[in-house]
Symmetry: D4
Subunit: 202 residues, 8 copies
């Protein structure tokens, strides 16, 4: 029913059997299904691997055929610890048929490395930017100040100490960057859907 | 420097004089300036009204010439109490040169009124949807399930009792709608900039 | 002493032996006992299975004879992940002698599926509605707007990210639906007792 | 549309004019309207007093004709400071056509005074109990242990110090009383609608 | 140095060796030492059991000779789940040389059982009352209203759902019982020291 | 009913008339009444001043005859800003018939001034110590380490910035001082009742 | 007693008379006194202005003679709204005898303006950097990445919406900048004392 | 690029291979690298131990050659449970080429032991003081009142019960000690870098 958005199964709390049954039901009607936050990757991959093309990141499985590629999104992440969320976002963009241009380990501690990523990305004619960052999340407002595009911030649960899991979210919401919008903590897939819709519709 | 985004002065905590001085500096270089959350509307309007076109909502002043109109955004709000934020969003969209299609008082208590607004809005060829809602903010995930577009939720500080000012934000962040992204509480202007950039670039 | 409410043992933090001793004491005086949130289902079932009728869900055991059936309650849940709480609620209703009419996987992402459940349920002459939902919990105010009955919302701890375990509770409390009341997070048994008393007394 | 529930205008954030316009619209189609949390009682009363029957409590106005009386609810409150919420609940019950039996100043500090209220109330053949209490809210679980009926707890914002406005809510949600359900802080009107629907349908 | 209070080693985060070394140092100078929240009971008991009298509860070890008995304290707890904290409090009282009079499983759901405990306890000429309770903690203000003595509330981390670990603390602090004072969550030992000092000095 | 504790009217949220009516009722049966947190001191003093002895502090009125003096309590406060709470505590002690020995402005910044107060106080044969402190509340654990007596900490709402109103409470609860117990923020009267009961019963 | 740190009176909650009496006592022994967060500037200035040199910012009064100047500190602030805290910090540095080099309105939205301030400041041979910033506080980690010096972050209470007053603090604490340390929200004076001691001792 | 600060790899969330690869890259350009919060100490030590000097504490690895020693810092910790953070701080200071003077188990319960540490430390000509403390963290303001130096407080996550992991942080931020600044919870390494830069630059 939701045009342009692939079917997504929320895998957490579900058994392998429940998940595979739902996935099969979707695949009988659609060419592709995504499974997020499942703890049963192995069983699911075994089950579908003969029949369908499967791609995997720690938090996401994409099963089936992708739509033809159209549109570009820039994805910048702060550190290696954010990789699972960054990879989830990139894979979900590909599943939407949008090309992600990914630059990792671009924390605000090295401003010139951030700039390089932005310049390189802008050359790819991207329609939106996704910033994945934990800890104080300062990368998101910094990047937002550099691009004339909608920025989707993905705060991650990376960090320790005071409000460790909420610091990046807090800081991205409180930011004065007017072109910065935010999704839930570790919400790589939501950032992909929003930025992907922007890029595809363009 | 930030192409496509009008200059915005954050008016809170500033005196009328500070604000007007900054506004004049911007207007000497740009054709337009926005002033948000100022408590000195009267003085500022008096000061600039002869010279410039001014438009006002409770939280926002737009001073100067707008860019030519290009692109459309659908704005749906839950209740009359959300009006100041809705109006701020609509005016900021106009200031960006984007046409807002506004439907107010469309709370989830009357699902058919929500549907009417979505159908009417989709006919206008909008590129994004802004949902303004307080209390439990359930309108945002509901609208998101109905449109194949990026949705920007603006939680408002309307409500009373438990986490009165944070309930809508919490609920929009926690939502399972994959095309829903969120800005800060009462952040009408940020929703306008993000949705406006989407609409203009299309 | 509490007429109309079966004896409930709070199983968490108790050993199998403590729990079974208490259960036996109750069963020597009453025809039925419920054991909630125990981690010793196996031992308890082994112990009582010859002697008593036992029914089990992940969070609840019902041991003994039920009262004659009287009254109907509609139970709607948002997703598969809410199943343990939904099942606890349904079993507790049965233990009270009330007939639950259960519709699962009726998230707000598919409004027509919600409507179907409400219409089907209303045909069963129900006296109250229980809504079980996690994440943003928007299902509860939505259902409340559709029925002229008391609605008991059960927020579940399903979700991730910001206030993952409290989002549904926050949103149900903040709701403007006047016929919606709330129990503790994952409180399926309390929703059953409240809705069951309503249905039985009718 | 919502059978059995009177129309309620949420008065906070609305001007007298907005409120009266909405009230008139409702009164042209329904025999009664409620206005909650308005700060414009005087203007509204002046406007409608010739034409309609009006009843007032600090947080609520009831304008128009009530339905015929049917059903009884017991309302117990902890202290004098809870009076505005207690009165709002009682008036809303009357507006629904349900008879409230109100006992105030029955804090847990005087258990025998609580017992007297419960005994006296039970004689009136009530179908539900509303408990209004601030501070630690211990009255709600105490009353719940004494009655074989659904209890609707209304935590009030009365108190000072640590989590002053949330202590009663926290304690009512965490309670192990299985027949206790809860509404938002100061939600007298919601408790009235829920308990009133229970009483009317019986 | 602290007269009247036995030496207490905080066992959490310490290895068995660190703990035993410290315990030996104290025992070379004092007749008794307490070890709280250690996860190395077995090693410690093995090490000292030949040489010293040892008493154990899940959260506390008392090693060495007690002072002569003097003074009485009433200890009432709400449920079986509170037992570890109740036992810790009782053992620490004995270590101080004070006699605890313990009544468990006296939740507010059964007011007469609470009354029995209070009446029985008051006959023992107690100088203070300790109330151990989790969930909504309503037992503490209820008992406080019944006794003309200082009451020390020990909120426990027993419960689930909203603010599960803090509900009893919140409610005891917010209480209007003027003779109720509070210690940290699960702080059985602190309640013992405070009530024990009261009883001993009398 | 509550032997040894004077009647206390909670004055907040009550009108002068309500308060005076309650006070008169109490005074017709008891020799004394306390009124806490009232905003109507003037009217109340005018009303009762001819007939009764009245003593006043910013947060408390004591009206009527005190019991004969018996017992001593040491009261130490950190700073001048804590004075209203300190004065409330001292007056309530006097109303109980207990002699307070008060030392103010003894913040931890001047450890020798703290020591002086403790030494001086201990000479008065006190049975308990009340410590009144805001900001980080470090005075309470420091004093607790110096006295072999029960200490009642009264965290005040003095301070600014992060958790300004809760810092002292947090720190007193978390303290490792075993003889330290805590009352609600600004709860001077509760500290007086608890410490007063200790002193009187001795 | 505290060498190198001027006496500071915490003015909040104190009357003009209390404050002036304390100030006079200090001035009779020391050459200078600071008064922070007082609401009685006018009376205090009137009282002392003939006799002493007085300097004023919205949150701070410095009365008396400064020590000879020694050492330099760089002070960078994000926006005009942070001015009161920035000015408090600068005045306190001067009172310590340290020279502040102040650059305001250097938000992260304009990275080159931040860089200019850092380069200009570093030329002044500063020993430490103070960063004053509200909202998301991203300026602090950004500056920290640019200087080989201790940085003291002062989060301000500037902002609106989610955790408006705590966002900058949260983000500065969570930051991965190893040379960044933090003081309380709006703690301009503490940043001055810490950075001033660093500069003076060098 | 960051002069005077050794390269630090944030080891949490990283595999041994990722970590070692990054460490090698740094060691090819710098003489030393630090690895914090890694869970792969064994593999990393095996890998580098032949080639480089390695020093280890539970939370930190220092690999390579240290700069020549210059400057002194006093490190005081409250209890044995704080040892891992204290050791991390001391090792990081050594890695910076600064000499730490460490005094452990100096809780506020024994004020004379605190004093001894301060006196002994001050003899070493230290330039700054680091205070490591959990629970109520009262040691930090106490030490701050005794030294005319910048103090860096490191709140630890040691404690249990109410806000167990945040109590020390809350209390250090709220403190009225003007020379006290704070780092994130368990942030031993940040305290080392800040105090080390102070000591080295002196
Ligand atoms: N990681 C995720 N975060 C948020 N929403 C999700 C996620 N994965 C799936 N969903 C949404 O959850 C719903 C599917 O839930 P279910 O029917 O339980 O599989 C759909 O609306 C999905 O778009
Ligand atoms: N005090 C109240 N608490 C909760 N909901 C309310 C209250 N007053 C009105 N409402 C609901 O708020 C909605 C009216 O919003 P509005 O259209 O802004 O007047 C209706 O759904 C009412 O049932
Ligand atoms: N899952 C549950 N949630 C809330 N209360 C419960 C639950 N299970 C049992 N109880 C209540 O807990 C009390 C039993 O406690 P206990 O005596 O410890 O078994 C009774 O009042 C029950 O009604
Ligand atoms: N400042 C106070 N803090 C806590 N409890 C109080 C206070 N003042 C009065 N009370 C208690 O509140 C109850 C009186 O409530 P009320 O009947 O509303 O006057 C009695 O139980 C008093 O002991
Ligand atoms: Mg990096
Ligand atoms: Mg409406
Ligand atoms: Mg579903
Ligand atoms: Mg009362
Ligand atoms: Mg029980
Ligand atoms: Mg002082
Ligand atoms: Mg600026
Ligand atoms: Mg120690």
């Amino acid at each position: 029913a939701r045009i342009n958005i692939p079917e997504i199964i929320y895998g957490e709390y579900k058994t392998a059997d429940q998940t595979m049954e739902m996935a099969e039901a979707f695949l009988s009607k659609h060419s592709q299904v995504l499974i997020s936050r499942s703890s049963c990757h192995k069983e699911i991959i075994n089950h579908f691997s003969g029949q369908y093309k499967i791609e995997e990141t720690p938090n996401l499985l994409a099963i089936g055929e992708r739509p033809p590629e159209r549109g570009n999104v820039l994805v910048i992440s702060a550190g290696a610890a954010d990789h699972p969320v960054t990879a989830e976002c990139a894979l979900a963009l590909k599943a939407l048929g949008v090309k992600p241009h990914v630059f990792e380990d671009r924390g605000i501690a090295h401003p010139t490395r951030v700039l390089d990523a932005v310049i390189e990305g802008m050359k790819q004619n991207v329609s939106a930017v996704v910033v994945v960052a934990g800890m104080e999340g300062a990368l998101a407002p910094f990047v937002s100040s550099l691009v004339p595009l909608p920025v989707i911030g993905v705060p991650t649960s990376v960090g320790y100490g005071f409000r460790a899991k909420e610091a990046a979210l807090t800081s991205m919401l409180a930011s004065c960057a007017p072109n910065l919008t935010v999704v839930n903590i570790d919400g790589g897939i939501r950032a992909a859907v929003v930025s992907g819709l922007i890029a595809k519709n363009q």
